[in-house]
């Protein structure tokens, strides 16, 4: 197997472990089918392997560790979509991919297919530490201080099958970034970690704790400003031990760490962590420079060589093609290396399902990554895909390839870049459909000139209070609610997930599904009337307050 860029390389131990787990699950499936296991006995076992039973079929959620993929893995997804699903995959808001039409009896074969490309579905469900998420621009962004992937991998290895943390009071989510510009929603995670270089050049970590969305949205609080690298694992271990010991197991709605942190207060929580650290064998958890280096050595780095004049080629192509130029404005990010650029592929073509990709599109994305991005792709928690390292003189050809496969929408960060959970069309927990309203909004604002005129505006839609669509963090958030069997949407304004993380504020009574798109259109119109100069939606909202938007939303005359 060729060495993949930007990813930890499995060894035989990793592969043997996965193979053993699949055989174990295969036997469990057989025992379920022959009746040796009841559904109640089998359910926790299948969930440990990422297999849910949803409305229409089983759903398999595959972990994408810190959002990094190689071309072979993306082709394997295409293969699963074609052979075992209905030709689609769906990228989630935790950088994973899920397949919505899976048969129980096929699952062991699917897991074997995935294991062939070093992938699995472990810890994508259950009350354990879930897939660690990271910055989709890791190792590439000009504004990055530390590449977070090495430490993300360390966290992955530490948290995978952690014997003490397999049955926590509730699920546990960790995100890590190495940029001061938070792109991972660190403050909305159970633990959010921001890495930066310390005074001595070694990495230190700012740690937030007790953030989350769901039923009780809370912005995480800083527990530590600068944990030294060698104490990272000990500190995280202590934080989760305190949660494991004191988290509420008696009430599922109060079981997340955020409730405990709120109940104790962050200072008292810190005291508990310190007390735990004081009685731990710290040496056992010490993350030595040698250990970090050994993990780092398992990552291959791209040989970033761009020809002289690459930037000039891009400038010339932008000048010649306005459509391409618009896409570059919205869908690219500055790269750390001269002559390179980061490209974001929007999985939100107007009127389509956010995060859905066809098997053919997956194959094409894999091919484009090999031609233009060192065979590497990343997924984002905003349900898009990123090519991390693209030569500027090749960006135009990449864009042409994306347009050919229907993935050239120039709307990243704009109103058409809607985040939505699967909602009631697929999810057994949902109260309302998220996707149709996302499609209607996408179609309503399909005009790319209008989208650019509106500017940065993030819409997030969740079909229930579990908030998989991160609606509390949307500039405009929609929460689907069920009123006597009919769908309504409660709107929030002003949410954001960056370094100024804020929970959106409820605007007023929930609106019938039929009125919601019009209400958002009126809010956007009012913003365009109210804004001063180049103010963003959030800036205008902050300046004028919610009153004009509330008036617009409920103005049905």
């Amino acid at each position: 197997m060729t060495t993949a860029i930007g990813q930890y390389q499995y060894d035989q131990v990793d592969r043997d472990f996965l193979a053993a787990r699949i055989e174990e699950f295969s036997e469990q499936v057989a025992r379920r089918l022959d009746g040796a296991l009841t559904e109640d006995e089998f359910k926790p076992l299948r969930l440990m392997n990422g297999l849910y039973l949803q409305l229409h079929a089983y759903m398999l959620r595959v972990a994408v560790p810190y959002g990094t993929l190689n071309a072979a893995q993306v082709r394997a997804f295409a293969d699963v979509a074609r052979r075992y699903d209905r030709g689609y995959g769906h990228f989630t808001t935790r950088q994973n991919i899920q397949f919505n039409w899976i048969r129980l009896e096929d699952t062991p074969d699917i897991l074997r297919l995935l294991a062939d490309v070093d992938m699995h579905a472990l810890q994508t469900s259950g009350n354990c530490i879930r897939n660690v998420t990271s910055d989709e621009f890791a190792g590439a962004a000009a504004d990055e201080l530390v590449d977070p992937r090495v430490h993300a991998e360390i966290l992955r290895q530490w948290s995978t099958l952690h014997p003490e943390f397999t049955f926590l009071p509730r699920k546990f989510k960790i995100a890590i970034s190495g940029s001061p510009n938070d792109r991972v929603a660190a403050r909305f995670h159970d633990i959010g970690v921001i890495a930066r270089p310390g005074d001595d050049g070694r990495v230190v970590f700012q740690i937030f704790v007790g953030g989350g969305l769901g039923r009780t949205p809370i912005v995480g609080q800083e527990l530590y400003d600068s944990v030294p690298e060698e104490r990272l694992l000990a500190t995280l271990e202590a934080i989760i031990r305190v949660y494991n010991a004191h988290g509420r197991r008696d009430n599922i709605y109060k079981a997340r760490i955020k409730i405990l942190v709120q109940a104790l207060g962050v200072a008292a929580y810190r005291n508990e962590v310190e007390a735990e650290l004081a009685q731990m064998d710290i040496a056992r958890y010490r993350l030595s420079p040698e250990m970090v280096a050994s993990i780092e050595a398992r990552f291959a780095a791209p040989d970033l060589q761009a020809p002289e004049g690459a930037a000039a080629v891009l400038a010339e192509q932008r000048a010649q093609n306005m459509v391409f130029d618009r896409w570059v404005r919205s869908n690219t990010h500055a790269h750390r290396s001269e002559g390179h650029i980061i490209a974001v592929v929007s999985l939100k073509p107007p009127g389509e399902i956010p995060g859905d990709v066809t098997a053919d599109q997956l194959d094409r994305l894999a091919g484009l990554s090999e031609r233009f991005a060192y065979g590497e792709l990343r997924t984002t928690h905003l349900q898009n895909v990123v090519f991390g390292h693209v030569r500027q003189d090749q960006l135009y050809d990449l864009w042409r390839g994306l347009v050919d496969v229907g993935l050239g929408a120039p709307n990243v960060g704009l109103i058409g870049d809607i985040v939505a959970c699967p909602g009631l069309d697929y999810c057994a927990l949902a109260n309302a459909r998220s996707i149709p309203i996302a499609q209607k909004l996408g179609a309503r604002f399909a005009d790319m000139t209008l989208q650019e005129q509106i500017g940065a505006l993030q819409i997030n839609i969740s079909g229930c209070i579990n908030a998989c669509g991160h609606h509390h963090a949307g500039h405009i958030g929609l929460l689907g609610v069920d009123k006597r069997g009919e769908e309504f949407f409660q709107m929030t304004l002003g949410g954001r997930a960056d370094d100024q993380a804020t929970v959106g504020k409820i605007l007023g009574p929930a609106l019938p599904e039929d009125d919601t798109v019009d209400a958002i259109a009126r809010i956007v119109d009012r913003y365009l009337q109210e804004r001063s100069g180049q103010e963003s939606f959030l800036e205008t909202l902050k300046r004028v307050g919610e009153a004009p938007f509330k008036e617009a939303a409920y103005d049905t005359v």
């Binding site: 379920r32 089918l33 459909r433 069920d482």
Partner: protein, 110 residues
Amino acid sequence: MKRAVRVGAGEGLVITANRLLDGAIVWLSADHTWQTAIQRAEVLVSDAVSERLEGVQSRAQADGVVGIYEIAVRPEVGGPVPLTMRERIRAFGPTVHPQFAYEQQEGAGA
């Protein structure tokens, strides 16, 4: 304890589940077999549901179904129509992929 599903005048109940092998939605018919089309579901009155549920629960493994429960429907000429959006989506397929809509009158059993 699970709350009884309320039905209004002119409404009835049907019993549904997911098929163990593939998760497909199935409906209990009058001959006590599981069918993939809601049109074949037997519409029951409230009083008859508990006993019928008990019976099918005891045969769930043999029948290859999981997650058995009852839902309220409105009997119509083309067959029973669930009252809630959730159950309409289960009965007729996801609203966002027209190609995945369930074929009506399809009759394959569980």
